[in-house]
């Protein structure tokens, strides 16, 4: 046992690979997750996020590479690793035909809790996750959010020091999503390490201390949230003028006020520019009115995952592989 490791790194993965048939789902992933942090793995559908998590959680054997959880090898010491982790999958891994209480009691019993202890633990977790009222109902009648919460509750029975969350909020409504975020934040306050995957930059932004952007089975960028965002600008301005003759003037003003280079998409007559600070839009609007330029449309948006991907990989965050024909134009637009 490497105890000096176990204090610092919750996850150390080197060159993980997994191929399904002819599809290289994970193609040499390296990850280092510091104990006590929230680490986000960001990427589109099919990028290899779930496969990576399944390998780290001993559910899938890597074809190549190695991974350690708190210093324990996932392949050679899988039984130990399972005592250190909790896994909440993309699809709730709970028993549909049983009630919430029965689910938690069975998982508690499997983890070695006594009969009364298991009962108490189940009640405690149901209360913690606001499921007490639904405790006796079969899961068939549970909403998606309730199922996810129960799933997460089941992962916390043994109080594992490392928790894997595979797309914890995909498919949840905004209110349930923010509840889930609160729960995840609390986990870290109590000392757990969380490794979560997500398709949403927003979610990684809200939760993660560090982010790895994963694409086609490879880590294409890694860093803190700020570092990642700095590479794409914090927000993006989209502006369209009413009269086509004003467009040159408008672009000049935008570049003056924001102190950046902008670009114009010809067909729509739209000006796009990165913004360091969304507040600058106030100055910009005043300047535009002073010059008497009428606007058709203006919006300030956070960079989307798609824009992050364009910037980092040079292709969009879609599952389609070949978009070569439209890449150059779009890249210019996002990079400016």
């Amino acid at each position: 046992m490497n105890n000096e490791h176990s204090n610092e790194w919750a996850v150390e993965a080197r060159g993980l690979e997994k191929t399904f048939g002819g599809n290289r789902a994970v193609d040499g992933v390296d990850l280092n997750v510091r104990a006590g942090s929230i680490y986000g793995v960001l990427g589109p559908n099919g990028a290899g996020k779930t496969t990576t998590i399944r390998m780290l959680a001993t559910l899938l054997r890597p074809d190549a590479g190695e991974a350690r959880i708190f210093g324990h090898d996932v392949a050679k010491e899988s039984h130990i690793v399972r005592q250190l982790i909790g896994v909440t999958g993309q699809y709730a891994s709970v028993d549909e035909s049983l009630s919430a209480t029965e689910n938690l009691i069975i998982f508690s019993r499997l983890l070695g809790l006594g009969r009364s202890e298991a009962r108490r633990k189940a009640a405690e977790l149901l209360e913690e996750f606001g499921l007490t009222e639904a405790a006796k109902r079969p899961l068939k009648h549970f909403s998606g959010g309730m199922r996810r919460r129960l799933d997460l509750a089941a992962s916390l029975i043994a109080q594992p020091p490392l928790i894997f969350l595979d797309e914890p909020t995909t498919g949840l409504d905004p209110r349930t999503r923010s509840q889930m975020w609160d729960t995840i934040r609390r986990l870290v306050v109590t000392g757990s390490t969380v490794l979560l995957t997500t398709q949403y930059l927003d979610e990684a932004d809200q939760l993660a201390d560090r982010i790895a952007v994963i694409d086609r089975g490879r880590v294409v960028a890694e860093g803190t949230v700020d570092e990642l965002k700095a590479s794409v600008g914090t927000s993006a301005l989209h502006l369209r003028v009413n009269h086509a003759r004003d467009i040159a003037d408008a672009q000049e003003i935008v570049e003056q006020v924001l102190d950046v280079r902008s670009s114009i998409t010809a067909e729509a007559g739209k000006i796009t520019a990165p913004m360091a600070d969304a507040d600058q839009v106030t100055d910009l609007l005043i300047a535009l009115r002073t010059r008497g330029i009428q606007l058709a449309e203006i919006s300030v948006q956070k960079p989307t995952l798609d824009e992050v991907f364009l910037t980092i990989t040079g292709h969009g965050a879609t599952e389609n592989v070949s978009q070569a024909s439209e890449q150059p134009g779009r890249m210019e637009e996002a990079r400016v």
């Binding site: 046992m1 959680a57 001993t58 559910l59 899938l60 054997r61 324990h72 010491e77 899988s78 039984h79 130990i80 399972r82 005592q83 250190l84 982790i85 909790g86 896994v87 999958g89 699809y91 709730a92 891994s93 709970v94 028993d95 549909e96 035909s97 049983l98 029965e102 069975i106 998982f107 019993r109 499997l110 983890l111 070695g112 633990k121 405690e124 977790l125 209360e127 913690e128 079969p138 089941a154 916390l156 109080q159 594992p160 020091p161 609390r186 986990l187 306050v189 109590t190 000392g191 757990s192």
Partner: protein, 271 residues
């Protein structure tokens, strides 16, 4: 605010292998899960309830006159035969349900828990002995209503019942193996039927062996199902524990020794 459940402590000792005691406890917990599932969906007990009633009635009245002259004389032959056939057939469901169960998300959690690998399988198989018990009791009760008077007395009937249940549990490992390696529940059902039909019908369960052609007699006499049927007849009708009883138990042990490791290995490889 309650924060106790979210706390983090690893002061428990870490071991890389589960002990035998843990495997047993885990399996019992998984069996408890199986029982809860049966209680939640009692309609899955239709087959074990109706099949013994239906088959016992049908076979006895169809074949009774032809084989033994009358129904009354046929009962001591057919009841042990139908019992073995029905209960063993029930064990197919184990494989089918295992396949359906394994496709659900909850098996991912079982695999990620630090529990004995064999527990989800052993537990499911253990819970299904409830089904075999129901089928066994119903078959004997049906026979009793039709006039079957087992000569061995109640004590030996109970021993015979337990023998059948134990052997069915052993056979269910075969179907569990198909359940683990097959891709769909329907294919498990299909393969299992193809195996089970020849095994149960090419035996002494329904007709006297000496009416069959020689080459068939050869198979019927080595068929373990024939030995089990004979053992049950000896127990229930005459109250004797003979060599057939031993052969049945040894066959069951061999099946478990071969198929339990195969099944567990296949199950672990599927991860």
């Amino acid at each position: 605010m309650k924060s106790t459940p979210l706390g983090r402590e690893i002061d428990r000792p870490l071991k890389n292998h589960s002990s035998f005691g843990q495997a047993l406890r885990n399996s019992l917990t998984m069996a408890y899960r199986g029982l809860l599932k049966i209680r939640r969906t009692p309609e899955q007990l239709f087959d074990v309830t109706l099949q013994p009633i239906l088959f016992t009635l049908m076979f006895t009245y169809i074949f009774g006159g032809a084989i033994s002259g009358n129904v009354q004389n046929y009962l001591p032959i057919i009841i042990p035969g139908i019992l073995v056939q029905t209960v063993i057939a029930t064990s197919i469901v184990t494989g089918v349900q295992l396949r359906e169960d394994m496709d659900k998300g909850v098996f991912d959690r079982f695999k990620s828990l630090p529990i004995a690998r064999i527990a989800p399988l052993a537990g499911a198989l253990l819970a299904d002995t409830v089904r075999y018990t129901i089928a066994t009791v119903l078959t004997f009760v049906m026979g009793y209503f039709m006039g079957y008077q087992p000569g061995g007395g109640l004590g030996f009937v109970v021993i015979a019942a337990m023998l059948v249940i134990a052997c069915s549990w052993a056979v269910s490992w075969i179907f569990a193996f198909f359940g683990v390696i097959a891709r769909t529940a329907a294919s498990v059902q299909g393969i299992s039927m193809i195996i089970l039909f020849p095994l149960t019908f090419l035996s002494n369960a329904f007709v006297p062996v000496d009416t069959m052609p020689n080459w068939l007699q050869w198979f019927v006499t080595i068929n373990p199902i024939s030995h089990l049927v004979s053992a049950v007849r000896e127990l229930a009708n005459t109250g004797t524990i003979g060599s057939e009883f031993i052969i049945s138990l040894v066959s069951a042990a061999v099946i478990v020794a071969v198929f339990a490791p195969l099944t567990v290995r296949a199950y672990m490889r599927r991860t």
